[in-house]
Symmetry: C2
Subunit: 363 residues, 2 copies
Amino acid sequence: SALTVFNTPVNERTKMATANRNPEIRKDAVNNRLVILSPARSRRPSDFKSKSQAKSDSNPSSNAQPQCPFCAGNEHQCAPEIFRMPADSTSDWKVRVIENLYPALSRDSQVKSDNEEYCHANGTAGEVSLGGFGFHDVIIESPVHSVHLPDLSPSGIAVVLLAYKKRIEQLCAIDSINYVQVFKNHGASAGASMSHSHSQILALPIIPSIASTRLNSMKEHYNQTGKCVICNIHTDKFLIDESTHFVSISPFASTFPFETWIVPRYHSSHYHELDEDKAIDLGGLLKLTLQKLSIQLNDPPYNFMIHTSPLKVAASQFPYTHWYIQIVPQLSTIGGFEMGTGCYINPVFPEDAAKILREVEVS
Amino acid sequence: SALTVFNTPVNERTKMATANRNPEIRKDAVNNRLVILSPARSRRPSDFKSKSQAKSDSNPSSNAQPQCPFCAGNEHQCAPEIFRMPADSTSDWKVRVIENLYPALSRDSQVKSDNEEYCHANGTAGEVSLGGFGFHDVIIESPVHSVHLPDLSPSGIAVVLLAYKKRIEQLCAIDSINYVQVFKNHGASAGASMSHSHSQILALPIIPSIASTRLNSMKEHYNQTGKCVICNIHTDKFLIDESTHFVSISPFASTFPFETWIVPRYHSSHYHELDEDKAIDLGGLLKLTLQKLSIQLNDPPYNFMIHTSPLKVAASQFPYTHWYIQIVPQLSTIGGFEMGTGCYINPVFPEDAAKILREVEVS
Ligand SMILES: Nc1ncnc2c1ncn2[C@@H]1O[C@H](COP(=O)(O)OP(=O)(O)O[C@H]2O[C@H](CO)[C@@H](O)[C@H](O)[C@H]2O)[C@@H](O)[C@H]1O
Ligand SMILES: Nc1ncnc2c1ncn2[C@@H]1O[C@H](COP(=O)(O)OP(=O)(O)O[C@H]2O[C@H](CO)[C@@H](O)[C@H](O)[C@H]2O)[C@@H](O)[C@H]1O
């Protein structure tokens, strides 16, 4: 019998964060999303064998792998390269942006032009389908198999962040692309199929529901208060760290235990407005945040997502749209309640998570 | 390197369902939700060791376990019983409905009455919180540790289904309860912490986002067409099986591979309108569906959710609200794209899944 909220082994301080307290239902004003904060849930037993995530998650060998297509020297095993950083590098590249060999969407312009006839309301059933036009890329974050994102220096991470920016700018120029999702999966329990450090970009012809709900929610807040909800976000007891241009916080209505947001202190609708200076500053804070989560939660699998605004928002929407990064350590498996309702149960109050993460010492 | 869409070992026919085809984006008219159907995704490799889900998911011993609180004889290890079926049974009970010992919400009426002063808009940040009042129950589906839901007869399953109904009717009578989520987690990868066959009911003071989005979506469809979207659902190439009062289908915009819905053929807003006759009929179709998924997908972990209407809908909403059951085999781990966008990538077209499941022979 184990603490089943955390499939990964966690230390005593993490467990203490789930001390006695009454449950609370909170609403995230940014995403208009409810969460149930419920410390009691962390004490439930399990009669399934512990997953020992850590082991199954990490690759048997973390040295250079001849069969890994993302390692330097194996470039020919990959789908076509879009660009590399530095642009004029040869075998000494730092970051490569390539096509995904198994893309979720098709960059075939035939699929795009088919859409006019293809898109149809399916009679009275109201079902709609659309050809799957879009772009699905992989960003290889390092030429070396064993080097993970937080192992890079702040300016090394900035190269990755600026590769996202450059690729988004290219995708922006394609008129039927309306949203871009940058995301990273680290570890098998976070969905990763490849262990070599990488992230992905999916460029979509539609605006997905979480992005449009967020847009509406930000707009409503602005109409009511005259302020951008993100500029106004709580940074008192929810603050973890801050840099010149960014803060890291535990969000007021954290969906997941130890969920962390990195938020620009300057108002900005789109991630790709990031400049080189800010990219290095962000690289430093992202590194620190990932290091702290790794120390506190025993190198957990994690995802991060860049939440930016739809590419073609009108200038009138600039005042209330503000991008940020959401980092989610994957400590547990969700169940039917979350799938059925969209409402998550989180055993750790974010103000407790913030306090713990604030105090983690990174050597 | 393995087929990573399916963490569980799947047979050749299942793999064939992911043959070459262009990706397609579909919208579910019931839930106003987008999915990317993308067969190419199923062929991507993985360099993580296969999880061999099946093993870690099943309990070492499936015989009666002295330490399992849900087994007959261990009733004293459980949180208080609410009722049992049959009501007058002693040690020969078939189903027990008990309080969850580690509840997500508190049934303490103090939390409820605190809500008036507690519920507050948190200044300009627009954050709202509410005391976590609600009910969290467990339905033990069998007194015997090794007997799982589909092992019961149709009328045995009906006893479970009627226990849900009875408990929902009790929760309905509590005026601050507005929504009831019935769900089942089977297997560790579907979130289950207990292996003894059971399901859960959470009664909420709020209407969760998926339920309110569905309500709006059903209303819109009704206003446009004059018809209930569920009464009108496609049952041609998406049909799997049918019974007197129900059909099982693969939904047009399946979020997950082999996702299956069981839909009443009669128009009904609330699950708890189910009578004994229909419960036995539903028991038969649920059994058949779970057996088919188990045969086809090698006893996968799964969740099911009963999607009913908010408890206090007005009579004017009856014409367009219609309950159904969603069954989701858990074959893969989602990643940052799904978390970031709310849009899922499904490698199996539902019409292909329906064809396969239609043809599975249950002996
Ligand atoms: N030689 C090669 N050249 C180019 N690209 C190659 C390649 N070999 C493999 N790839 C691609 O590299 C990517 C690696 O991505 P990740 O490890 O982050 O997770 P993946 O996308 O597999 O799925 C996770 O993320 C997605 C999106 O969130 C979820 O749908 C899914 O369930 C989850 O497992 C894969 O998309 C794969 O197609
Ligand atoms: N002696 C006892 N008496 C009474 N009740 C007892 C008990 N011992 C244990 N319980 C309860 O029995 C329940 C068993 O439930 P499940 O196995 O379906 O998953 P669980 O709720 O743990 O979490 C899964 O489902 C929830 C809801 O979807 C997700 O939040 C979570 O991440 C996922 O792992 C637990 O809720 C537990 O609290």
